[in-house]
Symmetry: C2
Subunit: 252 residues, 2 copies
Amino acid sequence: MSESASSKPSIERQHKPTENHLLSELSEEVLQRLLPHLELVEMPLGKVLYESGDVLRYVYFPTDCIVSLLYVMENGSSAEISVVGFEGLVGVALFMGGESTTSRAIVQSAGYAYRLSGQRMKDEFNRHGELLMLMLRYSQALITQMAQTAVCNRHHSIEQQLCRWLLLSLDRLKDSHLLMTQELIANMLGVRREGVTEAAGHLQKMGVIDYSRGRIHVSNRVKLEQLSCECYAVVKKETDRLLPRNKVTGNK
Amino acid sequence: MSESASSKPSIERQHKPTENHLLSELSEEVLQRLLPHLELVEMPLGKVLYESGDVLRYVYFPTDCIVSLLYVMENGSSAEISVVGFEGLVGVALFMGGESTTSRAIVQSAGYAYRLSGQRMKDEFNRHGELLMLMLRYSQALITQMAQTAVCNRHHSIEQQLCRWLLLSLDRLKDSHLLMTQELIANMLGVRREGVTEAAGHLQKMGVIDYSRGRIHVSNRVKLEQLSCECYAVVKKETDRLLPRNKVTGNK
DNA sequence: ATCTGTATGTGCGCTGGCACACAGATGGCA
DNA sequence: TGCCATCTGTGTGCCAGCGCACATACAGAT
């Protein structure tokens, strides 16, 4: 597999808050108010932003990382509830008023995010301006994703779910490479690693992806979409509806 | 099976908005503002409040009915995403800003609800007062329920899920009887009717429930909780935390 | 160049839930 | 009273996904 420059985010790269689509939707006025309090933080693979029940101290606006919201059961097995990238933020419970959630937030793909202290977030939120409305629309998109995850878990095969999962990840990356072992994917989907091996092997045979030792490259996205269940499309369509992407896409 | 007075809600019964726990949490001031616009409506079994994609015209505050949020797939099979009773409201998309959702809302247990036009709801919501904060906390409870549904669908047996489902329903009823065929439960859980028959038969053998032709009576709630997966307790605990003044008490 | 840990491939038996088919039970209604 | 739609029980065959055990393959370190 070829060297992938973007697999390891360069620390030197120029970051700006507007790489996050929510921040970029804010008016200049609100953004200026927030800017002094937005802190760029590194998001290494596996970092846990919060555990189930933790009181959230920050909200995170990813720029080029991906964060999974994961539920971990008493016996240790897990299931991904939803995934957040540059289109969203981690920590809706802060402004929803609950302060904590029953899930864990863990970095699934390394990168960076801007974080904002819970208090600053609430201050701005409580001004009842555009930030509030934007956050609510995003929350609804998140709800849609969770609902669809429930449906998918009930009705679709591992292969279909893998396709969905790959597509959701792909949409949050700047290229078609992801760093992710089959073992980790299995944890996300809540299935056996061997099941992922089998599904991934099949996708590889069909020329849709190729992978090796934790690096996955999607070579035929169109086919991937065909092989996926309807769940991906439902979530994507609804997210686009709720958060029509601003003209500046944020890429390069 | 004994006659159950509340199985068929009496039209003559006195209803008041504060039977809904969200409405009952509002201050006198806000409630007085809303009262003239709250309209008592009958909620017959099977009534569809809205379909996937519909623009919502009302929010519904159930008093003694139960509403399921159901996702229906392209091939017609379905899965329940969450359930709403007197502790909540149907139509969060209205104030979340999306105006519609990808799921269907359907009455699972007949009764009544107070409805409020979308515009009135938004007007009050936009005053940015207590209603807003209350709605957000409720939304988070709903999110928790959806997340747990996803987990449950992935990891637990039909019997465990049936227990969870019965408990969620029970908490929203005034007695221990529910009117619900195994066929309908199967649609909710997104499983085969035969699977529900088997699980229900087992629960009956263990003396936890007894049922016949669409009437289910829970005779041993404690055991039902023991047989359920952790998902029920997680949702209940979190709901109680988020909406403390209105603990869903369960039945005697 | 070898070692070693991590990642992936494979085989086997098992079980839960599926699809389909049909039999029995029951209650509402003519 | 008897009919009939609806609801529930059961059986058979099938397969996806599981748990377990182990065989490879590869990458990076020494």
